[in-house]
């Protein structure tokens, strides 16, 4: 038997919309089989993964809080991936963003505030986080533009470096002197925290920041020259070269956008949910966001939806771990499988697929 692919004259809109849903359904089916193989009821697992988090106000907030950094990072990554640039170091840019912004919070801890009061601290933190993420993402971008070094490998190596730097700083120079030797910084002052949206609840303004960035990205991608260039370079690199688009400048810009978004997500997480610096500030958001970006078909609105779906499964996984003793790694495997299936299902939008019996594979 032989798998035959015939290019479609144009991408199928229907299949483009259907293929992520199809991939998701298939991943859920395989996940269900895995759960059954582990001797648990798939029905009970589905209820806990996909329904339970939606039934209570606190868990709905948790879903939104998990979705916000994912949507933010993935939206930035979409600019790179659309232009065929492979920034896979968003995790490191997230960490550096959180670290840079967090340093301001630690440095201003307990100050009374001068003529400006303390109202400048939080905006300065957000700006510092964004800029630091940008700068960190520009390292692989510059190496690629100037020397032709693969951005894939350098951006990823820098993740390990960023994590080790954070680890060193919170165990050393940034450690809370009154913290009983725990490896963590001081708890941030109120002026250095993203306020809760509702008094006494967890939901904080980071969710609004993510929403704003997603909307901004919609406009930039569809209505600006920069967005147009990103799309052309990705879809038709030769055409872009003939049109005189500078590949170098686009590479730098796309990396700056994705690094800035990841850095902003990092400081929003630190100033929002965590409220201090710790040896680890991310449960792998930068990597999960890669899945979100592709599941959302590299479009900001799709990414926003995909981030909610992935956040749902993550919160569901925590519930399933407690209720059914299902390991958290099951969810990571599920997410990897989902990404593989999404990429595979994409073939339906680009080609007519036929199974030809007999004949040998060419």
């Amino acid at each position: 038997m032989r798998l035959d692919l015939a290019p479609r004259p144009r991408r199928s809109r229907l299949m483009e919309a259907l293929s992520p849903a199809l991939a998701f359904a298939l991943a859920v089916a395989i996940g269900g089989l895995a759960v059954a193989a582990m001797g648990r009821s798939p029905a009970a697992a589905f209820a806990i993964y996909f329904v339970a988090p939606l039934t209570e106000f606190w868990s709905l907030q948790e879903v939104a809080l998990k979705a916000a950094p994912l949507a933010l990072i993935a939206t930035g990554l979409a600019f790179c991936y659309r232009a065929n640039l492979w920034n896979i170091g968003a995790e490191g840019q997230f960490v550096i963003g959180g670290l840079a912004g967090g340093c301001i919070a630690v440095a201003t801890h307990g100050i009374e505030g001068g003529p400006l009061g303390t109202s400048w601290i939080l905006p300065a933190m957000l700006a510092a986080g964004t800029l630091a993420g940008m700068a960190y993402a520009l390292i692989p971008a510059i190496l690629r533009v100037a020397l032709g070094v693969s951005e894939i490998l350098t951006s990823l190596m820098l993740v390990y470096v960023a994590e080790l730097l954070l680890d060193y700083l919170v165990r050393g120079p940034l450690r809370d002197p009154a913290g009983y030797n725990f490896p963590q910084s001081v708890g941030f002052d109120d002026a250095a925290r993203l306020a809760p949206l509702i008094e006494g609840e967890n939901l904080h303004a980071g969710v609004l920041i993510a929403l704003a960035v997603v909307l901004l990205a919609v406009v930039v991608l569809s209505r600006t020259l920069f967005g147009f260039r990103v799309r052309v370079v990705g879809a038709a690199p030769r055409a872009a070269r003939f049109a005189g688009f500078s590949e170098a400048r686009l590479t730098l810009a796309a990396f700056a956008v994705s690094g800035g978004a990841a850095g902003l997500a990092g400081i929003a997480e630190v100033a929002g949910r965590i409220g201090q610096l710790q040896p680890s500030i991310s449960p792998g958001y930068g990597f999960t966001a890669i899945i979100v970006a592709f599941l959302g078909r590299l479009s900001p609105i799709g990414i926003a939806l995909a981030s909610l779906v992935i956040a749902l499964t993550t919160i569901g996984a925590e519930g399933a771990q407690i209720a059914l003793k299902l390991p958290l790694d099951l969810t990571r495997a599920f997410q990897g499988l989902l990404l593989a299936l999404v990429l595979g299902a994409d073939v339906l939008a680009r080609y007519r697929v036929r199974l030809v019996p007999g004949g040998r594979a060419a």
Binding site: D4, Y168, I290, Q335, A340, A361
Partner: protein, 308 residues
């Protein structure tokens, strides 16, 4: 420094290089055929988990090593289905493989955390292994090291001394032309990818069966990525690959010795050394290559769809 100490240091460098060499050799074959598989880290880590689990259950290191190879091949098969069968993007599919491999390895390995095994036995040839200077280095390694050496030699002969190897390299350089000549592009790529997966799985199994005889989550710690960088660093040539693997094994060992000796630098800075060294190596390499242009296989990373 005494002769025995030098031998000891060189010995550990060879040990630290072996998993990199195994994984990178497999990836070199896949890339020579034109397929960029970024899933090495995932295949390695699953090989480590499954290899350890199988070895504990069966009580046999050999069974563990075979299980590790099988794990790598299985993941590589999924990658081949996506990228060769369904024309999916190679970069993204490789990332999916790594995420999947990390998740699966956590699942497979969970019951085995904290268990210990005897490390794979080292060869001992009565007179030869006791030779001063080179005895242990040459005649006292574990079976994996010799397997890796044989593998590299075999791949070298295959790629540069056989017709099939020539065909594989040609396919990596121009898939359209070789298809026109009637070479089975997709089948060769499938086999090359599966071979790469088996090597990565074996490299992972080496970590959990010989290097550190236990399983810990994510114990590959980026070695799969460093193996990928090594292939670039080696300009897709085997001789340089061996040299590069020894260099990186050396960096790892140096870092461990420096940590143990407590030289003023923080431990985290030393731990970052292999990653920074990777970046530095890539930079230096591209500086040296600027005049000559890229040496990568010309079809590397490009999807091939047979015209009808």
């Amino acid at each position: 420094m005494s002769l025995d100490l030098v031998q000891m240091v060189l010995f550990t460098i060879v040990t630290a290089s072996t998993p990199l060499l195994l994984a990178a050799t497999g990836e070199l074959v896949a890339e020579r055929a034109g397929v960029l598989n970024l899933g090495v880290e995932g295949m390695m880590v699953l090989g480590a988990a499954l290899g350890f689990a199988a070895a504990v259950e069966s009580g046999s290191t050999l069974v563990g090593a075979l299980a590790g190879i099988a794990a790598g091949i299985a993941l590589a098969g999924l990658f081949a289905l996506l990228t060769i069968g369904l024309a999916a993007n190679q970069v993204a599919s490789g990332l999916a493989l790594t995420i999947l491999g990390l998740g699966l390895s956590g699942l497979v390995g969970a019951p085995y955390i904290g268990l210990k095994r005897e490390a794979a036995p080292h060869l001992h040839l009565p007179l030869l292994s006791d030779l001063p200077g080179i005895g242990r280095l040459v005649f006292g390694q574990d079976a994996f090291v010799y397997a890796a050496a044989l593998l590299v030699a075999g791949v070298w002969v295959f790629l540069w001394r056989t017709r099939a190897g020539l065909a594989l390299r040609a396919i990596g350089d121009d898939h359209a032309a070789t298809h026109g000549l009637g070479l089975p592009v997709r089948r060769v790529r499938l086999l090359a990818v599966l071979f790469g997966g088996g090597c990565a799985g074996l490299g992972g199994a080496y970590l959990s069966l010989a290097y550190t005889p236990f399983w810990a989550p994510a114990m590959t710690a980026g070695r799969g990525w460093i193996a990928l960088a090594l292939v670039v660093f080696a300009s897709w040539r085997l001789g340089r690959l061996v040299a590069g693997a020894l260099l990186f094994g050396g960096a790892t060992v140096l870092q461990l010795h420096a940590q143990a000796a407590g030289i003023g630098l923080p431990g985290q800075a030393l731990s970052a050394l292999p990653y920074l060294a990777t970046i530095l190596a890539l930079v230096i390499l591209s500086l040296g290559r600027r005049a000559g242009g890229s040496t990568a296989p010309a079809s590397l990373g490009r999807v091939f769809i047979p015209p009808r």
